[in-house]
Subunit: 415 residues, 2 copies
């Protein structure tokens, strides 16, 4: 069963969670001076509209018409009830998922790539640089850049560049210029840290070029709130007053923020972050100021972190391999408003294959983490004989991650 | 702009075009006796329900509720107006596409895989065999088999099995058992012909096993007519009385049949088949009785054919590499009701990349053929200053065909 929101009912504002947090967010600090960062510090990298959104206290922010026009290529996304999974589990829980995999790049990422491209274009910028690991974010920004006529240069972690050629080709199909990082050391396998450094350095050195980030920052999570706002309206169409539990996987926190932030004011709705045990930022990290990148170019953010030099093992859920978390997500977990738990990857692939064989679609390895938690919560509901409404974000499809499924299905996956 | 058909308005019957053809279809002939094939000849391979659908003269055939339940996982599919492509072309034509890429296997193929799995299950069959070339059909049948609890064995052309591991993994994720064909000659690269032979031989030799075909046959095209029926209703929602032109790419003819057959009775609607110049069955073949397979196990069908021993060059649009065409499509072309034209693959990739950079999604190489024709028709409308309503079938996405885009983008594609 599926609830399609009429195009006319698509949200026209983004929901700002900041006024709903228990206290104000602590500001990012300059990497050299350790003083709070001001607009002037960020202006070489970001358009003023995004800098303003980063610190706004307004409860809602209007979505520009040009952005809505592009979002309508795939939004509103469907809300679907996973009745076949429910039946297979024999659970009294009602499981709903918001299907963000239907976007052209196959994930939630274009929800922020599109406004970022738009605001840069509006302020006269002709080129964007960014980094990408497994490639979901680079794909989304290449896509958005194509639609707004921007050049897009993607620094891709060299190991991924060489091992995952299809993500590179996808970016190139949209006209993206993809290069392996670090550019100055062809023997180095690269990391998200080196790629951020390459992308930031180029943006800072060229007046026609800005930098774009796909997670962590407040404005990124703001843009993703179309997900949760749509889901709220669709749950009402489905006859549900509210969910008991909202679940999302968490790397930097953008898809989790997207589905969960609009539910923060609904105090009786549980919110849950799911992360890998191999990169347990929320469940095993410390809350402190840390650099956003490995090289220490980026501002220090108040967040849960494993240390900016933490190197996570090469799990297949590349989008969850970040040493920190969005300050907004960190604040929610720290205040107790949001729960966090972690799973080893074999358990998440087991859940993902169960999903594929009942619901029919193949989830991204990242999304498999959310599905694992949803299955366990649905089984707990069965144990308790409790009806329960569970909503989760189906953040992306796994069609470009099939080599990971190959490893799992043939017993070659290591936890 | 997108028109979502309410779930309640999904078609509950398949549309049978046979009563609307100019004359009766000539029957298939037995490969050995050359006599018309009867139900008893087909019973070892197909369930009786499908054999009956193959020859029915009823104007509509009811879709079983259990089939509708599964189709609802992704149907009704969206009808979308390609306004960004229109703007890029500067055409007065209004271009609509029916998006069949949203199914879990990523193409129109499950529209028939699901009822085929259902009818076999209903008649006590526990296993299906089939062949697959590039893998779209094998994916669809593995998917459908998983949902109905059937075993599925896919004979995959060895060259594809070795060069396209991701399609194999996708089938395995749904529980499909994929083996390289020919099974008895590991040094042979295989062909659709050898794979059909392997699959038919196994089905014929085991009482618990049937064979399943993904195109060409009447019942397959019948199942695909949900596409065109939905599109008709959605065009009315969009305020269009009727299309001037309906376009589909054509290999065996199943996606083309799906979008176009419900428009056959509307005499002023042009219907157009688009095929590759390297496998020009409709534009360069002869209409005659020929074997459905290379080995001569399958019945002889009255169709346009290049000869059952024709070996098409290894173009990337694997789904269009079939030596013949569905008898229904052949009859429509022969009577003049349907047009046919052919393109070399470089022209189709050029169109596909234009599409990706305007509309945002990456089409399957097969679908690129339809897009090429649509662009040329839209440019012709511009030349003539004529408003024109063009409908085409976006039969599948290209996310598992990115190596083909890699070749095109880097100048390595040979026509």
């Amino acid at each position: 069963m599926r609830w399609d929101l009429p195009e006319a009912d698509m949200p026209t504002t983004w929901f700002n969670v900041v006024p709903h947090l228990e206290g104000p967010l602590e500001p990012p600090l300059h990497p050299v001076t350790r003083e709070p960062v001001g607009p002037d510090d960020l202006a070489p990298l970001f358009p003023m509209a995004l800098i303003a959104q980063e610190v706004t206290g307004e409860p809602y922010v209007e979505i520009p018409g040009e952005v809505l026009d592009v979002l309508r290529l795939w939004r509103p996304t469907p809300l679907v009830r996973a009745t076949r999974l429910e039946a297979a589990l024999g659970t009294p829980a009602r499981i709903y998922y918001k299907d963000e995999s239907v976007s052209p790049p196959g994930s939630h990422k274009p929800n922020t790539a599109v406004p970022q491209a738009f605001y840069n274009k509006s302020e006269g910028i002709g080129r964007l640089t960014t980094e990408t690991g497994a490639g979901q974010w680079g794909s989304a920004l290449s896509f958005a850049s194509a639609l707004f006529g921007l050049e897009c240069k993607v620094y891709m972690v060299r190991a991924s560049y060489e091992q995952k050629p299809y993500r590179r080709v996808l970016m190139e199909t949209w006209g993206g210029n993809v290069v392996a990082s670090p550019i100055d050391d062809p023997g180095h396998p690269g990391s998200l840290g080196t790629a951020i450094s390459d992308a930031v350095r180029e943006a800072a050195s060229r007046a026609d070029t800005h930098y774009s980030l796909g997670s962590v920052l407040n404005h990124v999570l703001l843009h993703q709130t179309v997900i949760g706002q749509e889901a709220k309206a669709q749950l009402r169409l489905a006859g549900e007053e509210r969910p008991d539990l909202v679940v999302g996987c968490c790397g930097g926190g953008s898809n989790l923020g997207g589905i969960s932030l609009p539910f923060v004011p609904d105090r009786d709705v549980r919110l849950m972050a799911v992360e890998p045990t191999s990169c347990p930022t929320l469940t095993g990290g410390r809350f402190e100021y840390d650099f956003g990148d490995t090289a220490g170019f980026a501002p220090l953010l108040p967040m849960y972190t494993l240390g900016h030099d933490f190197v996570p093992p090469p799990i297949h859920a590349g989008g969850l391999r970040y040493h920190g978390d969005a300050p907004i997500i960190s604040a929610l977990v720290r205040s107790g408003r949001m729960e966090a738990l972690a799973y080893p990857q074999s358990k998440t692939f087991e859940a993902a294959v169960t999903w594929a064989r009942t619901q029919g679609t193949v989830p991204a390895p990242e999304t498999g983490h959310a599905i694992r938690a949803v299955i366990d919560e649905a089984l707990a509901a069965k144990e308790e004989g409790a009806e329960r409404v569970i909503l989760f974000n189906y953040s992306g499809h796994g069609l470009l991650d099939l080599s990971a499924y190959d490893s799992y299905l043939h017993g070659q996956l290591v936890d």
